[in-house]
């Protein structure tokens, strides 16, 4: 339930708000719904990743020019060791890390801070 709520509310908020808006959404929803800090981290991270990676893959699929390859190219530069990794893999790894960490820690913080006030 929490997972679905984060995706729906986080998704809508992300269309209008700044890039980091998914974090306060996780914080608030976890404050409200999550049981433990640990589970809050897991569910928030998973939901944020689903949202970000899902939308990234969608945009990547419908675009006419492969922008992911071009952006990944800027990061890898001419580094030969990274030549063989599929470029979209590099992009999705970064998207996953950014969304998992910002969503996860914010969700976890929601439960922690709630407990402070309820204790």
């Amino acid at each position: 339930m929490l997972y679905i709520l984060i995706i729906i509310i986080g998704g809508i908020a992300s269309f209008f708000g700044p890039w980091w808006v998914v974090a306060p959404v996780c914080f608030a929803l976890c404050w409200w719904k999550a049981k433990t800090a640990k589970s809050a981290f897991g569910v928030s991270a998973l939901a944020a990743v689903t949202l970000w990676v899902g939308y990234s893959l969608y945009l990547n699929a419908v675009s006419e020019v492969n922008m992911s390859d071009k952006i990944a190219g800027i990061f890898t530069g001419g580094a030969a060791s990274l030549e063989n990794i599929p470029k979209i893999g590099i992009i999705i790894t970064i998207v996953t890390l950014v969304s998992a960490l910002s969503g996860g820690f914010a969700g976890m913080a929601g439960v922690q801070v709630r407990n402070f006030f309820k204790a």
Binding site: V98, S102, F105, A119
Partner: protein, 817 residues
């Protein structure tokens, strides 16, 4: 403790968001950039399904219709000129906002704000040279001219209307990667954009290098090796054209013509002129064309870049209807055509950048000696803001010549306690005239007289304006503001203490060289000498090498019944005139040593068809050999490492053919041996083959093909963004070839226009695409066709109502209260 237990997660989350929201060194803000809702994925474009778009905009007077064709070229129809230029600014900004602002950051010396300290030295030079300051003055001056001012203000308002619509996710992707935001546009920024062209096209100088040559070898050697006019030349104004004016008295050559360096050599850090940044244009008259009316062609050669320097568009209002290319950031069409006329430009390249050695009173540099008195310098503090906020300041000193570009903290013969300074006098810092009005009047020109009137507004960078009309006139004019100089004034560093060395005034604009309907039936230019030595004024001692101009002229000379397609074949001509001139002599020399005939590459060069076509191995060998030969002859005496320059190819070729015993052939670096010319030629041939073998493996038609070795790259304006670039384009050409495509420069727009009594036919394309967005299919869609030498048929609509299958969508800009 309890607090810590409950709040560390929140602190961590907040810290993480902060980290991911910032850029760190060259690492962009990962959170912002990689969010699919805000970051680079928002710059991807889905297949355009066409359809109309309506856009209410504040500042418009009436409705403007923008019709986009299948190449994403906008055709703008406005009801008045203010709306036309407003819409032009709006439409260009939609496609090229990042690029146009980037150019202004370059010329105003503000790149450090975007990329940090690594741009500091580059910025410092650009600030010192005064472009930003002069742009400010020009913008101020133009405010007083109602026409210029209304065009510039309308254009700015259009750009700003677009900027006002942008939120972070809509920003061009370069802003996201480099993490900054666009500033509001203004007329000043348009002038800064034009300053960039002045700098590119007239910002080089050999003055100090040649002064070093005089200092080491004496004036006679310079007169011999660096003459004022080449042996082989076909000047822009045909030899024999009469000068139909009474010239002003030119200043007499003073006794002292230069300031020699104090300690053997001067070491200014000034870029060399770049002859490969030249261009071709020509017009054939009706007598030579199949239609009986003129055909005009132009291909300006510039640094190849993505986004492209040009933007195609049609501009239409009750006052004008014109098609061509615009510079992003600048109103009007720069190269193009309308119903009655067509015009184009190439760079003149006359000497409009001089250096003066300045004698300061003391270390403070507050006073300098000129005309037997101490004069005060003006001081200005320049501040540089680095990315991240750090501020660095620099004091700039100005003399009446111009800014002090360089100071040297060593003992000088001028003054033992003061640094030697060098002031720069540069046409770019002239603040009169209104270059943009030249283009405005050309855009609406109807005939030859309109063309001549348009040219009078122009200052710099001086251009060869080629012209043709459907009244069967053709003309060409090397045009701009030219200093009135004594012969060879500014060939060397000048003495800043003597008034005789100051620029002495200007060549009257109506006495700039020009020719209309010459007997040979065509006009042309390729940056070569504007005139032969009979022209009464001094313009410069060195222009671009003559080969391109001579080849164009021999092709046009031979041409009858010309069509757009025959002129296209001239634009793509890969014939190597330098090889025709010198290769027979070089091969004859090689043959004197029977061992060389067995050397790899010899049969390839001997059997080469003299064309720099993409697949030719002979072209690869010749071009490399030419470099090695120059090095072998000249590097011992005139090494660029010693701040000198080589004599021209023209002089070198003449020496090989006529002065085989010249002392310059001997390699000074070998102490106990005197090399002959034949030995040097043989040695350089082997060096060329060895260097090619080292880099490309043993001789092989695939690996040694000219296009592979030349390897033309079209790079993004930020060179580090290699994946936004197109590398290793497969095409021929070369630096003194009509198809002047080198590794990094080339025809940046090719256009051919057949004039007609009823409606002209235009053809053209450029090596890029209309969109500046690397995520668009229109970012680089014209490159492959460009590499093949093909042209698009240009859609030039008669009016807003004209139907065309090529029109794919329409955007209506509506006034908003």
């Amino acid at each position: 403790m309890k607090f810590l237990k409950h709040f560390w997660g929140l602190a961590l989350a907040a810290g993480l968001l902060y980290l991911l929201n910032q850029s760190w060194g060259t690492v962009p803000p990962l959170g912002k950039l990689f969010s699919p809702f805000q970051g680079f994925l928002q710059n991807t474009e889905q297949k355009d399904t066409g359809g109309d778009l309506e856009m209410p905009l504040k500042g418009l007077k009436g409705e403007v219709s923008v019709r986009y064709d299948d190449n994403a070229v906008p055709h703008i129809f406005a009801q008045n000129d203010d709306d036309l230029f407003f819409a032009q600014g709006y439409v260009i900004a939609r496609d090229r906002l990042w690029q146009m602002e980037f150019y202004t950051m370059v010329s105003s010396g503000r790149l450090t704000e975007i990329v940090g300290e690594r741009a500091l030295e580059y910025d410092r030079y650009n600030r010192k040279s005064g472009m930003a300051n002069s742009a400010k003055k020009i913008a101020e001056n133009l405010k007083k001219d109602p026409l210029s001012s209304s065009i510039l203000e309308a254009y700015s308002a259009g750009v700003n209307a677009y900027i006002a619509q942008l939120s972070y996710k809509d920003l061009p992707v370069e802003y996201k990667i480099l993490n900054y935001k666009p500033e509001p546009w203004s007329p000043y920024k348009t002038i800064l954009m034009l300053m960039n062209m002045r700098n590119t096209l007239s910002g080089g100088s050999n003055d100090y290098r040649l002064t070093n040559v005089v200092s080491k070898y004496g004036l006679d050697a310079v007169k011999d090796l660096f003459p004022d006019y080449p042996v082989d030349e076909s000047p822009i104004i045909p030899v024999g054209t009469k000068w139909e004016f009474t010239p002003l008295q030119t200043p007499a050559v003073p006794e002292k013509i230069m300031a020699l360096p104090d300690n053997g050599q001067v070491a200014l850090n000034i870029p060399e002129p770049r002859p490969e940044i030249g261009s071709n244009n020509w017009a054939v008259g009706g007598a030579k064309s199949a239609t009986g009316l003129p055909i005009l062609a132009n291909d300006p050669h510039l640094g190849l870049s993505l986004p492209s320097i040009w933007y195609q568009m049609q501009l239409s209002s009750p006052n004008m209807n014109v098609y061509g290319v615009a510079l992003p950031g600048s109103p009007g069409i720069v190269i193009g055509f309308n119903k009655d006329v067509a015009w184009g430009v190439t760079n003149v390249g006359s000497d409009v950048l001089d250096f003066y050695k300045i004698k300061f009173k003391d270390k403070t540099m507050k006073e300098y000696w000129h005309d037997n008195q101490w004069k005060k310098t003006e001081q200005r503090i320049e501040t540089f803001v680095l990315k991240g906020g750090k501020v660095i300041s620099d004091t700039l000193y100005l003399t009446h010549h111009g800014p002090i570009i360089y100071t040297e903290n060593k003992e000088t013969d001028f003054n033992k306690n003061a640094p030697a300074g060098h002031a720069m006098r540069w046409i770019t810092n002239e603040t009169d005239g209104a270059d943009l009005l030249t283009f405005y009047y050309l855009n609406k020109a109807k005939n030859y007289d309109d063309y001549r009137k348009a040219l009078t507004y122009y200052t710099a960078p001086a251009q060869n304006f080629v012209f043709s009309s459907n009244q069967n006139d053709i003309a060409i004019t090397p045009n701009g503001k030219f200093p009135l100089k004594w012969k060879n004034q500014g060939k060397y560093i000048l003495d800043g203490t003597l008034p005789s060395q100051d620029w002495q005034g200007w060549i009257p604009k109506d006495q700039n060289p020009t020719v209309k309907n010459p007997p040979r039936g065509f006009v042309s230019s390729a940056n070569q000498f504007s005139t032969d030595p009979t022209y009464p004024y001094y313009l410069g001692w060195r222009f671009a090498p003559s080969e391109r101009g001579m080849r164009i002229n021999e092709r046009l000379e031979a041409m009858t019944q010309a069509t757009a397609d025959s002129l296209r074949s001239v634009q793509n001509d890969n014939f190597n005139l330098a090889a025709r001139r010198i290769l027979p002599a070089l091969i004859a020399s090689l043959k004197k040593d029977p061992r060389i005939a067995k050397y790899a590459g010899f049969s390839e060069i001997e059997n080469w068809n003299l064309k720099n076509d993409a697949g030719e191995v002979g072209a690869t060998i010749f071009e490399r050999w030419r470099e090695e030969l120059n090095r072998a002859i000249w590097n011992d005496e005139f090494s660029p490492d010693n701040k000198m320059l080589y004599p021209s190819d023209d002089r070198t070729f003449e020496m090989i053919k006529k002065e085989p015993a010249a002392r310059w052939f001997d390699n000074q670096d070998t102490k106990d041996k005197i090399e002959t010319m034949d030995e040097i030629i043989g040695y350089s041939f082997k060096a060329a083959i060895d260097s090619l073998t080292k880099h490309n493996g043993s001789i092989d038609p695939k690996k040694w093909a000219w296009s592979k070795v030349k390897s033309t790259d079209i790079k993004h304006l930020v060179p580090a963004f290699q994946s936004f670039s197109r590398m290793d384009i497969d095409n021929g050409g070369g630096k003194s070839i009509v198809n002047a495509t080198t590794a990094t420069t080339g025809p940046s727009w090719r256009m051919i226009v057949e004039l007609d009594k009823s409606w002209p036919r235009g053809y053209g394309l450029y090596p890029g695409g209309q969109s500046g967005n690397p995520g668009s299919i229109y970012y680089d869609n014209m490159i492959d066709k460009w590499a093949k030498g093909e042209l698009n048929t240009l859609l030039f609509l008669k009016n807003k109502e004209e139907k065309s299958d090529k029109i794919k969508k329409q955007m209506v800009l509506k006034p908003q209260n």
